[in-house]
Amino acid sequence: MEYGSLAFQALAATIKIVFMILGFLMPLASILTWMERRESAMMQDRLGPNRANIGPFKLWGITHFMADAVKFLFKEDFVPPKAHKFLFMWAPIMAMAPALIVAAIIPFGPPLCWNELLEKNPVCGQPINLQIAQLDVGLLFYFAISSLAVYGATLAGWASHNKWAMMGGLRATSQMMSYEVTMGMAVLGSFLVYGTLEPGAIVAQQTHIFSLGHYHSSWGIFLQPAGFVLFLTAAIAETKRTPFDIPEGEPEIIGYFVEYSGLRFGMFFLGEFLEIVVSSAIMITLFFGGYHWGNTIDNALLSHLPNFVFVLAMFGLWTVKVFAFCGFQLMIRWSLPRFRSDQLMRLGWQRLLPISIANVVATALVVLWAQQ
């Protein structure tokens, strides 16, 4: 097959999509469901689920996620009699799909050089970008699609014909709308610094961890520390987890998925973890250099390994970063108490939004000053 032909591109894209979803997102999100319980247990001096096993293979109970899936499969799939059947069916998919779609713009490795797979230090005449879709609007696409996730929660709440679910759906809506503004503003800073919205290009620039000489190619965390904190806060609020789990308070309104059972509930559950993975990956992309590990390590790997091994190694390192960041998000979830609804709104509109606007203005001034 010829490089660059339509068939080649289609095949490459298909392989990338299948790999990303089945090989990375789904397994990682599933493992996170177990990891969350285990990690929280370790933080609280407990042991956590460590029993599930396949024959003699126990692996610290990692197969609990399979046991969960089997359990969800065999549970009754209850649909309330007065529910809106069609929307009730679609809401879990609406909640889960955006996270999967957004993953399309995440670069997960350096370009693979098609005609120089075995060469060290390739010229890379025929690169295959390890990123499903290279969109110039990149991050805008992320906002556009991830804000669709709110429909999942809202429709679930509305279609269930349950007042508590409805309240949960409304709370989810107000929360996600409020925090999207901050999120957009936080990313604007990164946009100003790197001069592009395309995640692949943003990552490609972050070759140094931190260097004053090439401040343009430092990691985002050093150029936009305030932006990182703002984005992190907003991203956690978007995943609707503690400390921002207003839409699902167990002692008060339970949540927008109160009427869901079986595999449909499982989809909400998994969707939440998919959002964690994807938002971690986006944060790695914007603020922690994507697949880069600093100039020295990158160059050493590049010049000593055949190209495809180099790409695999970088992908492995990227996975480690994403995994660690997911762990960090879980840690936040199990360390902080939850906000009240009005505190949440005050934090979003009166604190984070002004700070994020100030951050954009300050960044713009510094960039302007640096250019002159």
Binding site: E39, M42, M43, D45, R46, M331, I332, W334, S335, L336
Partner: protein
Amino acid sequence: MAVGVKVVNRPGSLAQQAYLPAIAEGLGVTFRHFVKNFFGNVTGNRKKTDIATMEYPEEKMKYPERNRGLHRLMLRDDGQVRCVACMMCPTVCPAHCITIVPEEAPDGRIEKRPMIFEIDELRCVVCGLCVEACPCDAIRMDTLDHAKPTYRRVDAILDKEELMSRGIQSTAVQGGVGAFWRERVGGQPQTPPAGAVVPAGAPHGPTPLRDHGHK
């Protein structure tokens, strides 16, 4: 609106209002615990962790010495049941879960003994009154075990043989020491007054009334 809103001012420093230092501190605490427990657990060195979990079927919590557990019937020196079917325990039992059918004992000095002695462990409220009531240390609850789960209710009713299977010989002197118990507890060996009936086998000298297994 008639609803009054009381605004509570909570002055705090900028650091407090920004949440971040407190968040970092909290994350530090949880992270310390996580690292300690995680590495202790991965290296198989549970001693070095703070984990309080007991992995139940494999590890069992030892009950305290004075725990009231499953009943048992104590034995005489010759291995017979020590109970004299005095009916004290079924009388005092608030749950009415002790069933005794007495019969005549072949040994004329004992008179009575239980033919049937059953305790329904499902109805028992584990109050320990039966043990308190027993005049001759025949029933005890110091097995340091709990009633076992069963598939059928009837299996939770323990009969005489089962209760005796956990029994041991009591250290209390069989037949009692009669009117001289005060002196015996005081540790003063005494010759019984003339005409007193001393039961056979009653040892002389100070005897601990019960052996609780104290160290």
